[in-house]
């Protein structure tokens, strides 16, 4: 009941004309940038962070939320029409969606993805409104050692458990942790890894890292393999509207996708890839039209798209309630909060309820706006896909450098942007996941601070980490999550040798 009351209060914040305007600008920008091929929601938020730099926190956080959801809608349009998903979470959508577009059913594919995103987003945001306060009540009892243990869980699940290769995932994470060491140690005031460069004393900016890895890295990667694949934009042919049959076939996949997406997104399990692929394979198994799968089955678009959006709302649960980002996009949202000196978590719920609940309420509004913007206006967004690739990437890089200089006017920052770009290129080329680097940079220093706080309370006794039942359980989960993929891999190899 408290949630409903708080939500109603949040709604009064969200429907203030200025905040509505911010939400509208957010969804417009988010969709526009999200539609551009190669730009996922994380980069969308990272690129647009500097713009909100000088706005007031309440309004700009509402704008982020719009950008976040808008980026998701825009991304699926690209996945359907040109089969280059901006992020791995849209991969499942591209599988069937692009086939549908090729078969002249692009309209219904876009419609089922937009309506499915709306249904899933609305249900999952309701889930967020009820789950987050419960988690906050739990989190109030967390001591620093418990937070440290929780972050260990996030580290392991984001990097090792669900990737292709635990070693490569952990390598990415530790590179991020190493970057997180740079700067002044907050407890003793000593500089670490700054090599006498004064600009490094403040540490590595999360936005510089993210924009470098995602924007510059992606530009280098796409340019270097230009000879390999040409992108073809499928025109939207035929009716945009779904037939009665389409509705009947989309309804259950939407619901099932939401049920996969929200809980998995809310667990610190990182990313939307798992629920989207779970949803895809479930729909493939349950469908009455198995012969259509692989040739453009509408269920294969409806389910994963719903799962994708539901998990996006799900990742906001640990982000808002615990300050724990579990995906690259959530990490960028956290960077957005930190830019105003706000730290999501139980304290923010207590001290700035209007901010948190205003944000949650504005998610509903953003979702509704996006449905309106995306269904009738989809033709407009599709026009953005006609921008020639050279100008598109040139524009992205201009914007990326502009944001970096605006946030921190120094040549050192730009040099770092270039260096991170090269890092991002190499990581793409050698198939290292990128999200763990961002999560490592943002969570590493927080984890260190919590651990040191815990150990100074216990007068240096490390046993505090296992004496608290919460922390002991979480550390055990982290350990299992770390070891499990190696064991499973060993089993697989064993099985392969048997054959």
């Amino acid at each position: 009941m408290d949630s409903l009351f708080a939500l109603a209060h949040g709604l009064t914040v969200a429907i203030q004309p200025m905040n509505l305007l911010f939400a509208l600008i957010g969804v417009l920008l988010g969709t526009a940038v999200g539609v551009l091929p190669g730009i996922g929601p994380a980069l969308t938020v990272a690129l647009l962070l500097p713009i909100t730099f000088k706005l007031d926190p309440g309004g700009s956080i509402i704008m982020f939320a719009g950008i976040y959801y808008g980026g998701m809608y825009g991304g699926s349009t690209t996945a359907i029409l040109i089969n280059t998903p901006g992020e791995s979470a849209s991969m499942a959508t591209a599988l069937e969606g692009n086939k549908m577009a090729k078969a002249g059913r692009g309209g219904p594919a876009l419609a089922t993805s937009a309506i499915g995103s709306f249904v899933a987003g609305t249900i999952a945001t309701l889930g967020l409104a009820f789950l987050a306060p419960t988690l906050v009540e739990l989190a109030v009892r967390f001591g620093p050692e418990d937070y440290f243990a929780l972050m260990c869980v996030a580290f392991v699940t984001v990097s090792a458990t669900f990737g292709d290769s635990p070693i490569r995932g952990l390598t990415s994470l530790f590179v991020g942790l190493a970057l997180g060491l740079v700067g002044i140690d907050k407890l003793t005031g000593q500089a670490r890894l700054t090599f006498g460069v004064p600009e490094l004393l403040d540490g590595v900016e999360v936005t510089t890292l993210a924009v470098g890895l995602f924007a510059v890295g992606e530009a280098l990667y796409v340019a270097s393999r230009r000879h390999i694949q040409e992108e073809v934009v499928e025109p939207v042919r035929g009716s945009l509207w779904m037939t009665k049959e389409d509705w009947k076939r989309s309804w259950w996949p939407w619901i099932r996708g939401t049920l996969f997406g929200f809980p998995i997104g809310a667990l610190p399990a990182g990313g939307a890839e798992i629920p989207t692929f779970l949803s895809y394979s479930t729909e493939k198994r349950l469908t009455k039209y198995p012969e259509e799968f692989g040739k453009g089955a509408i269920e294969g678009v409806a389910g994963p798209e719903a799962a994708n959006n539901a998990s996006a709302a799900g990742t906001l649960v640990p982000l808002l309630a615990l300050g724990l980002p579990t995906s690259a996009t959530a990490a960028m949202m956290l960077a957005g909060f930190q830019q105003y000196g706000l730290n999501p978590g139980p304290l923010l719920f207590a001290e700035r309820p209007e901010l948190v609940w205003g944000l949650i309420a504005s998610l509903f509004i953003a979702n509704a706006m996006l449905l309106v913007l995306n269904l009738p206006l989809v033709g407009l967004w599709v026009k953005l896909l006609a921008i020639p690739q050279p100008w598109l990437y040139a524009g992205i890089l201009v914007f990326a450098t502009m944001g970096t200089i605006a946030a921190k006017p120094s040549v050192v920052e730009l040099t770092m942007l270039g260096a991170f770009g090269v890092l991002g290129f190499l990581m793409r080329r050698f198939d290292y996941p990128i999200a763990p680097v961002v999560v490592g940079l943002i969570l590493g220093p927080i984890a260190e601070a919590q651990l040191r706080r815990a150990l100074s309370i216990s007068l240096g006794d490390p046993m505090i980490l296992v004496q608290s039942p919460i922390s002991a359980t979480l550390l055990a989960i982290a350990l299992i999550a770390l070891v499990l993929p190696f064991i499973l891999k060993g089993l697989n190899r064993f099985k392969m040798n048997e054959d």
Partner: protein
């Protein structure tokens, strides 16, 4: 048992492993500049030690996987676009360092990136980049009052 195809040693993979070890070594070396000054609990050295050890272990892990040929297949790549984009970024940095200003720097980066993606109209793109730079400058420096680097052209507009 099936006979396995002899796997090639992945040289790039070994280089990555070496870089990781180098990074671990750098962190370890940096530790020596810190003084232990925490009364209770962990000092500023604890986290770097953990990260350095972790990186060293992962360096070895990556080396093993490179020796086994465990890295994914890679396609051939074009070097020219990479040189062009990095060159464009370098030019942008140089322009800003020497006070040429944000707008010309943006124009050069735009034209270089565009060329990297296969366009052969450098001067046209330079002009487009310049226009884009002016628009961005007016929008962000004037309207949103972000501070962008100034040069002669920006001072002319800004006056």
């Amino acid at each position: 048992m099936t006979t396995r195809t002899p796997r090639r040693v992945d040289k790039a993979g070994l280089l990555i492993a070496l870089l990781l070890l180098l990074l671990a070594g750098t962190i370890w070396w940096d530790l020596s500049t810190l003084e232990l000054s925490s009364v209770y609990g962990l000092g500023p050295k604890a986290m770097p030690i953990v990260v350095a050890i972790g990186l060293a272990v992962l360096g070895v892990g990556n080396a093993v996987s490179a020796l086994r040929g465990g890295l994914p297949e890679r396609e051939s790549l074009l070097w020219m676009p990479i040189v062009l984009i990095i060159g464009g970024l370098a030019a942008l940095i140089a322009f800003i360092e020497f006070g040429v200003g944000f707008i010309p720097a943006t124009a050069v980066l735009f034209a270089c990136t565009s060329a990297a993606f296969g366009r052969r109209a450098f001067l046209t793109d330079l002009a487009i980049g310049f226009t884009a730079g002016v628009v961005i400058y007016l929008l962000f420096a004037k309207l949103l009052t972000l501070s962008l680097p100034m040069g002669p052209i920006e001072r002319l507009i800004g006056a």
